[in-house]
Amino acid sequence: MRQDTKMPTEAKEFAIGNASPAFGDLAHPGAAVSIRGLRHFYGSLETIEGFDMECPPHRVLGLVGPSGCGKTTLLETICGLQEPAAGNVEVGGALDPRGRLARCAFMPQRDMLLPWLSALDNSALALRNRGTGRKKARKEAGQLFERFGLAGFERALPAELSGGMRQRVAFLRTLVSGKPVLALDEPFASLDAITRSEMQAWLAGALATDPRTVLLVTHDVEEALYLSDEVAVLSARPLRVVDKMSAPTPRAPDRDAAVTDPSFVAVRERATTSLRGAAG
């Protein structure tokens, strides 16, 4: 995999969060996510028993929890990829799985880029699926490449891109879908520590210019607290919110300063303690 030497400057560009309507053509009125009394079974084992959760429109909700606590199941249920055994899951007013699927874009842990499509065609998948012609879809997605620090890599195959760039293409693909809700399942877990913090700053910038309702699943407390407005610490079997906290400086332009600020460190310590307790 190619090394991402140009990344830091690009990341800063985004972190500044210029006020230009970068994603004006993709802007969305926003949608709230609400879960009431969600239950889920894995075989006969009840993994989620009575789970409640709220996320207002255009807010970022961080979900941290121990591995295997059912975070992915939760995301897939919200997205309408799974049906709950019981309970109400509402996304932007839609309760049925089809309606939820139409409102959510799911970004899985691995980038899942299709190896036979160029970066441009990968990012335009949602448009193509909706019947937009190849030329028009490429043009529409291509407009965003520069802002994503991907200019010049439109025709590159995923195998020719670095890990950070692949992740940005995957995120671009999610954003181009124009869905009001983004479900991100550990989006940066596969990246090395340096690229990961760069990508966090970059995502913060991207969300500043194009706000969406974001559900961010991660097991990185710092990542959750930096990117989210609110963070919920989850426990495993049964899945439950054990602690909830507001982030001190959500998506602050200067990431390094933000995460070392005493108020941030204090909240991080609290979240880490809660998480340790949740893992049992």
């Binding site: 997205c79 990829l81 139409a102 899985p108 691995r110 190896p115 949602a126 193509r128 699926n129 479900a183």
Partner: protein, 250 residues
Amino acid sequence: MRRWLLPTLFLAGLIAVWQIAATTGVIADALNLEPYLVPSPSEVATSLWDSRSLLAENAWVTLQEMLFGLCIGLIVGVSFAVAMHLSSGVREATYPLLVISQTIPIVVIAPILVLWLGYGIWPKLVVVALICFFPVAVNTLDGLRSVDRETTKMMRTLDASRGQILWRVEAPGALPYFFSGARIAATIAPIGAVFGEWVGADSGLGHLILQDNAQLETARVFAATAVLSAIALSLFGLLALAERRIVTWR
């Protein structure tokens, strides 16, 4: 360069050993045969040259049988794979039948096909297609099913229909598997063609081999076999080339 040099050198070495063994009569003595029954490579080459128009004529017939039979096999194989992939009912209903179709010896089917379809090209096409479709169907089905479920989920949230998932994700993902099956099919196609001709034909390399064998024209039997191998090798090479041009992302 190395890819061509090594097999060519190895083949040349084998031919040289055979040439010495045949001309000195070592093989014939060992097997207690008349020397003319064990032709040397040079005799085979002479036969190849002397009978070139006869061989070309018959090779053309067999080539058509192999090529069209292989094409039918590929189309039928892919169709079965897609149908079995899209419907678990179809998969469960037909999978055992596909396997059974391969357990029936061709020597049993071929005469019946000749009875039904006559002496022309059709029974040969059916035999070739029958043995070629199986590796294609099984491999392509595996390929279609090899797609990561996460990718399918990602595509669904990007508003992809079932058909779009098949066309944009599963089909390209299955291509390398399809080509593996197709290459196997290309190498077994001559077997089908020759069996088809043995049962009833008035031309073709298999027919020629049968006749020459009966007339103890062993040199030409080897010559015809060499031509048959060359055809299969070309088909194999063409498929490998097509795969390299199409599957560029691997």
